[in-house]
């Protein structure tokens, strides 16, 4: 005999303003099986929870329905509440009458009607709930960090500091990421390399941290606490353990005309190279597409000069399998490609550069050794125009709808540094808005304007026309309401940033979700900002959304704290809502095994009684490994015979819900 209790939450006015909560409780009380129904202002508060516990005891309830916010918010809270009153925590159902009802309706009559239906649906389901018990699974005390930029490095250092092993997998030949390419950092103007490279070295020297550079994660299987990853260590044709990073090979290499990625193609590098002087690991790598030996079989100069004997032309990619308890995604960003913004003449003139290219042009380790010179003729530019929001806050399909967040500040930095170093240079900045929230940020921008005399023009540029070695910039000044023409020597474009192109494949591999811009989605935008909705997967840095360095580092450490919290546990409670195969219906067709993303299904030959003279037959039937199953339900819908069912979400329960809605 069911004895169901229904508890309707007001959520202050969040629900009560659009849903007549008393009417919902009243309607629920009339449902068969319901013996108790009430409403309360804040069901999740201590008083609200006490009310639930008391009602369970007083009415000997066998099941509980709570009409409140999304189960993602408080299901865990209320499970504990009913458990404290002696009920199995899975004898609880939440009817989401906030996100799915009060927040999306304006009319109280409509809202109330829908809330009643949702309550009825949850009551229909809870009637078919069965007590479930969570199992336990072990935690592998090691974390995987995908991406070795400042975010990945910081997360790894913090996790290692707490005493856990960390692997950093970086696809480039060195860790360090975008920050290695930046010259100075706002708002304090300290040099990026000076603050980053010690961290890179710390990571390399930390005995808990293992760096897989020039490597990529190819496959991740398993679940929180127990992931198995396959890492492809790409052949760099140089033995990492033997190479001393002396650089003899790079100076002898005859294939010198290859685009230097580190300097964004503004100069060239040899086929065998070390990305930059402070690279970690400081080991050479051979670009097989540029290497004469790899292409023609002749040359071998680097091998001859290498006194360590580290050159290995026949090195192959290596697949490494490692187990992890937690995974940190720190895949970072890239500036967008500017091929769709031809009005700014980026592809027509070498003197139109992106802000990141400007960083290289101003950096002492850059192609011009830190002297700002025009890429076209190597002369000193006297008029420089900065164009903001190139592809950011863009309402057409060429760009991104979001604000890239870092551009206002780095442009102020660039303008200020140029005016400081080359006071004879005029600097103009075209902007839509200047956005500088952050500690000491607005002061920084004001210094650029007030102290350094940078000319900020509110308005956008319509066209940049290369002519006679100059760049004619045509824009509008919205404040004085006039057209502006500037004869510039250089134009710098603040290109929008976008997630690294690998974000999508990494998300797919981890079954973590990404938004329409390919930024990773957090479990809760406010309350769980560094966790992905996929258990055991954490987010660090710009992969989750545009961020500057201070924010990235803060998030990376927050992310590490979450990882440490997970790795500190010896056992994890597993989700008991897992699949189960009804052997009497299973045909052993393997469809479920094909669709199972976790590899939780195996087959066994079992003997079954059958009518007829043979009396029994051996049949191949599916078995679910409950420790591995994550309850995604893919098998239940793929099974043609309906032999697979999900505990807690059985087909019968779902049909009962549908029936209750249609009633």
């Amino acid at each position: 005999m069911h004895r169901i209790g229904v508890f309707v939450c007001w959520c202050g006015t969040n629900i009560a303003a659009t849903v007549d909560v008393k009417a919902v409780a009243e309607a629920a009380r009339k449902e068969p099986g319901v013996v108790f129904a009430t409403d309360y202002q804040y069901m999740c508060s201590e008083a609200g929870q006490a009310l639930i516990r008391q009602a369970i005891k007083d009415n000997a309830l066998t099941g509980v329905v709570i009409c409140s916010c999304s189960p993602r918010m408080h299901e865990a809270t209320f499970r504990k509440t009913v458990q404290a009153a002696g009920l199995n925590p899975y004898m609880l159902e939440i009817a989401n009458i906030r996100e799915q009802c009060s927040w999306i309706h304006k009319d109280i009559k409509e809202g109330t009607e829908k809330a009643i239906i949702l309550a009825r649906t949850a009551i229909a389901k809870v009637m078919l709930n069965k007590p479930l018990t969570a199992g336990e699974s072990a935690v592998t005390k090691r974390a995987l960090v995908i991406g070795g930029g400042i975010a990945g490095i910081q997360s790894a250092l913090d996790i290692a500091e707490a005493g856990y092993e960390v692997d950093i997998v970086e696809k480039q030949p060195t860790i360090g990421g975008k920050m290695t390419q930046i010259d100075k950092t706002f708002p304090t103007l300290d040099c990026a390399a000076c603050i980053l490279t010690p961290k890179m070295v710390d990571a390399a020297q930390n005995e808990k941290i293992k760096i897989f550079s020039y490597s990529q994660v190819e496959e991740v299987k398993g679940f929180v606490g127990s992931f198995k990853a396959k890492i492809r260590k790409k052949a760099r044709f140089v033995d990492e353990n033997l190479c001393t990073g002396c650089g003899d090979c790079t100076s002898k290499c005859p294939s010198k005309k290859n685009k230097n990625e580190f300097n964004l193609g503004l100069d060239n590098r040899p086929a065998i190279y070390i990305p930059f002087a402070q690279a970690v690991p400081k080991v050479a790598v051979i670009d097989a597409e540029a290497c004469i030996k790899k292409k023609t079989g002749k040359c071998g100069l680097c091998e001859k000069v290498c006194s360590a004997g580290a050159i290995k032309y026949d090195q192959q990619d290596e697949i490494i399998e490692r187990e992890y308890g937690a995974i940190v995604v720190a895949t970072g960003f890239n500036p967008i490609k500017l091929d769709k913004y031809d009005e700014y003449a980026y592809s027509q003139s070498p003197d139109v550069v992106t802000s990141l290219e400007l960083e290289r042009l101003m950096n002492a380790a850059g192609p011009t050794q830190g002297t700002l010179l025009r890429p076209s003729d190597g002369t000193h530019p006297h008029t420089i125009v900065f164009i903001q929001c190139v592809g950011s806050r863009c309402d057409d399909a060429r760009g991104k709808s979001y604000c890239s967040k870092i551009c206002c500040m780095y442009t102020a930095k660039h303008a200020m540094l140029i005016r400081e170093k080359y006071p004879d240079t005029d600097v103009h900045v075209f902007y839509i808005d200047v956005r500088t929230p952050g500690k000491n940020f607005d002061e920084f921008y004001r210094r650029a304007v007030e102290q350094y005399g940078v000319d900020y023009i509110k308005g956008m540029v319509g066209k940049v026309i290369p002519h006679d070695g100059k760049l004619l910039v045509q824009g509008s000044d919205l404040i004085s309401n006039e057209q502006v023409k500037i004869d510039a020597d250089m134009v710098v474009l603040a290109a929008a940033i976008e997630p690294d192109p690998t974000a999508r494949s990494v998300a797919t591999m981890l079954t973590a979700s990404i938004d329409t811009n390919d930024f990773f989605t957090e479990a809760h935008p406010k309350l769980r900002p560094v966790e992905s909705p996929t258990a055991g997967v954490f987010l660090s840095g710009v992969c989750q959304g545009p961020k500057d360095i201070p924010e990235t580092v803060a998030q990376a450490s927050a992310c590490a704290a979450k990882v440490i919290g997970l790795l500190a546990k010896d056992k994890l409670l597993s989700n008991p809502c897992v699949a189960r195969a009804d052997e009497s219906l299973c045909s052993g067709c393997s469809v479920c095994q094909n669709v199972c993303p976790y590899g939780a299904i195996t087959y066994e030959d079992r003997e079954f009684r059958i009518p007829g003279p043979k009396r029994s037959e051996i049949r191949r039937v599916a078995q679910v490994n409950e420790a591995v199953c994550q309850g995604c339900g893919a098998c239940t819908v793929a099974c043609p015979s309906g032999a697979m069912d999900l505990k807690g979400f059985s087909t019968k329960q779902i049909m009962a819900e549908v029936d209750a809605i249609c009633r």
Binding site: S505, T508, S584, L585, C586, S587, G588, C589, S590, V591, N594, V595, P597, Y603, E617, R619, R620, A638, P640, S641, G642, A643, T651, K652, M655
Partner: protein
């Protein structure tokens, strides 16, 4: 087919004689001149009843689910299109391959008795197949047909004369290609209809259904231990179409269940006593799968995962469905 009939029978006798099999799965004559029944022959003597002609259309592979679990080895005769179903059943672990000796046999297209009857032929006494001619001897005299005109629809869009599996093959000297029609031609006609027209078309076809379950029982892909429609726990079990929902949904659910596994053998439409073109539902799925995930032939081998049970990162995004007008 007379030439290979002899060869098949000889082969079957030899298999019995040397003890390599203890049963042969083939066809025997039924009550009428055009009725051919799948049959298990247990000795060389029983083979006297064995027949192979233009009416041996039945796909024998499904019978192996039961027969391959019996003691001993069974020889089975597979026409090219049956060999796809055979592979699919092996892939789904529904038949025990080790207990089977599969003989791929030639096929020059199977005959459609309904087409013959539709030409006004009555009181059939015997039917003679003579190359490209079919001569029907009746009480009222002989009637000649061009063989191509009285073939089953599925043979007009034959998948090809090559077997995709088999331990041995018995093929005719002169092999006949019967393909004259693109098998998606009729699907395209359906797709060109407005949603209302299409609904009307299926409504009128499916309302003819008497729920005899012949389509399900003959279908090699419909091989569940217990069909959901027979499972009282599923809440949809019933024997007769008690309401319009069921008569509409039975076939649609069945098409969903076999999607990605259906080899387009066409048995469902061949056995339907109400002549519902059920194969069109399956072919629509096949066409969609081909378009969304690249061409795929269920049963072409015994290993490849079907596109509906195999996720690849390059797979079509769900939004593609609405781009294709799926919201209608």
């Amino acid at each position: 087919m007379q030439e290979i009939f002899g060869l098949i029978k000889e082969k079957a006798e030899k298999l019995f004689a040397d003890g390599s099999v203890n049963r042969v799965l083939g066809w025997k004559k039924g009550e009428t001149e055009y009725d051919r029944i799948p049959s298990v022959f247990e000795s060389a003597e029983e083979l006297e009843e064995f027949v192979y002609d233009g009416f041996c259309a039945a796909n024998l592979s499904k019978y192996l689910i039961r027969e391959s679990r019996e003691d001993g080895k069974i020889a089975v005769l597979l026409k090219p299109c049956d060999s796809y179903s055979f592979n699919q059943l092996v892939k789904e672990h529904r038949i025990k391959r080790d207990n089977i000796y599969a003989i791929g046999i030639d096929c020059d297209g199977k005959l459609d008795i309904d087409k013959i009857k539709a030409a006004g032929v009555k009181a059939i006494q015997s039917i003679e197949e003579n190359g490209s001619e079919v001569i029907v001897h009746t009480l009222y005299g002989d009637k000649k047909f061009n063989r191509q005109d009285v073939l089953l629809e599925r043979c007009l869009c034959c998948k090809g004369k090559d077997h995709v599996s088999g331990d041995e093959f018995i093929l005719a000297q002169n092999r006949v290609d019967t393909t004259v029609k693109d098998r998606f031609e009729d699907v395209r006609k359906l797709e060109a209809m407005t949603p209302d027209e299409r609904f009307e078309f299926w409504r009128s076809e499916l309302s003819k259904c008497i729920r005899c379950n012949a389509c399900r029982n003959v279908c090699p892909a419909c091989n569940c231990i217990k069909c959901v429609f027979d499972n009282e726990d599923s809440g949809v079990a019933a024997k007769a179409n008690v309401d319009t929902f069921e008569e509409n949904m039975f076939h649609i659910i069945r098409a969903f269940h076999v999607a990605g596994r259906c080899t387009d053998c066409g048995e469902c439409s061949r056995v339907c006593p109400q002549h519902i073109p059920l194969h069109l539902l399956n072919r629509k799925f096949i066409k969609d799968i081909d378009e969304l995930y690249g061409e795929f032939k269920a049963g072409a081998d015994t290993e490849t995962k079907g596109p509906l049970t195999d996720y690849r990162t390059g797979d079509a995004e769900p939004s593609l469905i609405s781009d294709r007008g799926g919201s209608n």
